[in-house]
């Protein structure tokens, strides 16, 4: 098709007018006209030259020399990307986010620039509905073996038989405590919130993330982590507003503050809990006995991803169990892939932070898709933050 406009150049004035007349009479298609006049080519060239728009999706199978991934704080082994670069020549830029809402907002605004990102289980259906993630071409993911994945954690990546996302790892959301500073043993979210207003005054962090912050406040009253009921949310808000003045920060990147000793207690994901405890043994990871979140993070590719071949290549690379095992050792969250678990050392598999006792896991809930888009929860969180 691209042949037509190159052949049409240059065009004489007579021919131009002639074509214009034909266009007016309707005997010529707009595309034909654009092609003939060379306008299309000129626009395309100019646009690309000026860098106003990124080049259209790669036609050929070249991987380019760079791509970017959107993920969570302290979530990867930096060596993974260095090795990937050594193998493929593609350098990987890591963008870090504090909440799924932030990722969604960036994708909704268009042109995120990511070739790969790491959404959490409950968000995938919304992404699919909004049409902003790619139905994965499984042929390009030879290293992925669905049969080895733990079905408890991996179902939400596939919708109506089409796979939109493949799992990275699962985990829980509890809280980390510096037991040297806060010596009272804690086992529940009630204690978390109460301590935040007492001994932990000015030293407690909560996520900059509505799902967990509101969810765990709901847990204080024994409500569902995913509740959308206005009266229940109102009670959660009351608690949050009461706690707000006592907090150290509202941030999903709590490791630096915990490590520096500025914060003594924080809402915490499995992987961060494992990393903190590994480096600073007095930091303990606690799962609230009332329940809370259990989650799986997935890899997915945005529909408007600038370098999809590289995205697929990295995803396939990450699905390689030998690569994944190193990732898990660095990240600290439990894998969903049996092949990876087989390679993990015993002390990892025995780590109670990663694999909590069954009775602690039982009350945990997966995030519900509705919480992601519910305006009530979004506005509650925003009010809490701006209070």
């Amino acid at each position: 098709m691209s042949k037509s406009y190159r052949d049409g150049l240059p065009i004489s004035p007579e021919k131009f007018v002639d074509q214009l007349m034909r266009l007016k009479r309707g005997s010529i298609g707009r595309r034909e006209f654009l092609g003939l006049t060379g306008l299309g080519l000129a626009t395309a060239v100019m646009a690309r030259e000026l860098g106003i728009m990124p080049s259209p999706a790669f036609a050929q199978e070249g991987l380019g020399d760079r791509m970017s991934i959107a993920t969570w704080p302290n979530y990867h082994d930096p060596a993974t990307f260095e090795n990937f670069k050594a193998e493929t020549g593609v350098a990987v830029e890591v963008n870090v986010f504090g909440s799924n809402e932030e990722m969604l907002a960036k994708l909704q605004a268009g042109a995120s620039g990511w070739s790969l990102f790491v959404p959490t289980n409950y968000t995938i259906s919304t992404y699919k509905k909004l049409g902003i993630i790619e139905a994965l071409d499984m042929a390009k993911l030879a290293n992925y073996d669905g049969s080895q994945e733990d079905p408890r954690f991996t179902g939400e990546g596939t919708i109506d038989g089409v796979t939109y996302a493949v799992p990275k790892n699962w985990g829980t959301t509890g809280f980390a405590v510096n037991t040297k500073k806060l010596t009272k043993p804690m086992t529940s979210w009630k204690e978390f919130w109460d301590t935040a207003m007492a001994e932990g005054d000015g030293r407690t962090m909560v996520h900059d993330y509505q799902l967990t912050t509101i969810g765990n406040a709901l847990k204080y009253f024994g409500f569902s982590f995913n509740s959308l009921k206005p009266d229940e949310l109102a009670k959660a808000e009351e608690l949050l507003l009461k706690v707000k003045p006592h907090l150290f920060a509202v941030s999903s990147d709590y490791q630096p503050s915990m490590r520096a000793g500025d914060a003594w207690m924080t809402m915490c994901w499995t992987n961060d809990g494992a990393q903190l405890h590994r480096d600073i043994p007095e930091i303990a990871y606690v799962l609230g006995k009332e329940g809370g979140e259990i989650w799986t993070d997935f890899y997915a590719i945005p529909k408007d991803a600038p370098n999809k071949p590289a995205g697929y290549a990295l995803l396939n690379y990450l699905m390689n169990p030998k690569v994944a095992v190193k990732e898990h050792l660095a990240n600290g969250a439990p894998s969903t892939d049996a092949r990876v678990n087989a390679l993990l050392p015993k002390e990892v598999l025995d780590n109670p932070i990663l694999y909590p006792a069954a009775e602690l896991l039982k009350p945990l809930e997966f995030g519900a898709a509705a919480t992601l888009t519910d305006p009530g929860r979004a506005e509650l969180m925003a009010r809490f933050k701006s209070a």
Partner: protein, 297 residues
């Protein structure tokens, strides 16, 4: 319009050519202003009477609900309206003596160097410098030093004080420069005249120096105020998401809760507030220093 007589460089030639040239000169700027100022402003105005789409973003509607919901961000507005003037004032209190010293006391040959030293911090990223403050105020910085001498568990970061410090730090040069300029232009003879007429140094400062540097003070003050009204970074980095400015509320609405219409309504309100603040500052400045034009004599 066609004559262009007021211009010092008007070119001869017929009216048509004159108008064509004027249009060519103003064309790019006009296009720029329309596409990237007027259009966006129209867009957020339209958005501000719309509704949040179910998944976030915008959906067309006509409602004033977003404006009615403004009180939900009262705290952020309050923080901004308190901390912005407080920050500008703190900035002024630190900046004035420095500007005064540079303009009137520093040895001549040091003056330029010292002035350059005021400007140089501008060339390192404000982000990096604020990050350095995060370190200084954070657990490994001053609190660690204090712990060393036995004062345990001091918390400095993520407090309004830290935000205020960040503000003073970030905007100090912007405050020093205009005050310096107005003090530098000050006729030294006026100070001698005042002393000659029996005024003590303090009353000379209050009666002459301060009064005549007011235009600089007001320029610096409103400059810093305007920038602070839209501040996002300093409260984010040094306030830990706890000291929330309107700027933070805006970013939050667009990048977290994805409530574009409400965000638009807040943005418009913020612009309105900024304009009011600036007009007020202007009014005060002209009132206080009615004799500004005398400088030329």
């Amino acid at each position: 319009m066609s004559a262009g007589t007021g211009s010092v460089f008007s070119m001869r030639g017929n009216v048509l050519r004159h108008n064509l040239l004027t249009a060519l000169l103003l064309g790019p700027a006009t296009a720029w202003l329309v596409v990237f100022l007027v259009l966006p402003f129209v867009a957020i105005t339209v958005f501000s009477v719309g509704e949040r789409a179910p998944e976030g973003g915008y959906q067309a509607a006509f409602t004033l609900a977003q404006y009615a919901n403004l009180p939900a961000r009262a705290t952020a507005f309050w923080n901004t309206m308190v901390l912005a003037p407080a920050g500008a004032l703190a900035c002024l209190l630190v900046a004035y003596p420095v500007a005064y010293y540079l303009a009137l006391r520093a040895p001549q040959r040091w003056r330029l160097i010292l002035l350059a030293l005021v400007v140089i911090p501008f060339w390192t990223s404000l982000l990096m410098r604020t990050y350095a403050w995060m370190y200084v105020l954070g657990g490994r910085g001053i609190p660690a030093l204090l712990a060393y001498v036995g004062i345990e568990d001091v918390r400095l970061i993520n407090t309004p004080g830290a935000v205020l410090l960040g503000i003073v730090y970030g905007y100090l040069p912007l405050m020093i420069l205009p005050i310096y300029v107005s003090l530098e232009r000050l006729d030294r003879q006026l100070l001698e005249a005042s002393a000659d007429l029996g005024a003590t140094p303090i009353s000379t400062f209050l009666g002459v120096t301060l009064r005549l540097s007011l235009p600089g003070v007001m320029t610096g003050f409103s400059l810093v105020m305007i920038l602070l009204l839209g501040e996002y970074l300093i409260p984010t980095l040094l306030g830990g998401g706890k000291v929330f400015f309107i700027g933070n509320a805006l970013v939050d609405l667009f990048l977290q809760s994805r409530n574009w219409p409400f965000g638009s309504a807040i943005a418009i309100t913020l612009v309105a507030v900024s304009v009011v603040v600036l007009l007020a500052a202007n009014r005060i400045s002209t009132r206080l220093s009615g004799a500004r034009r005398v400088d030329l004599i």
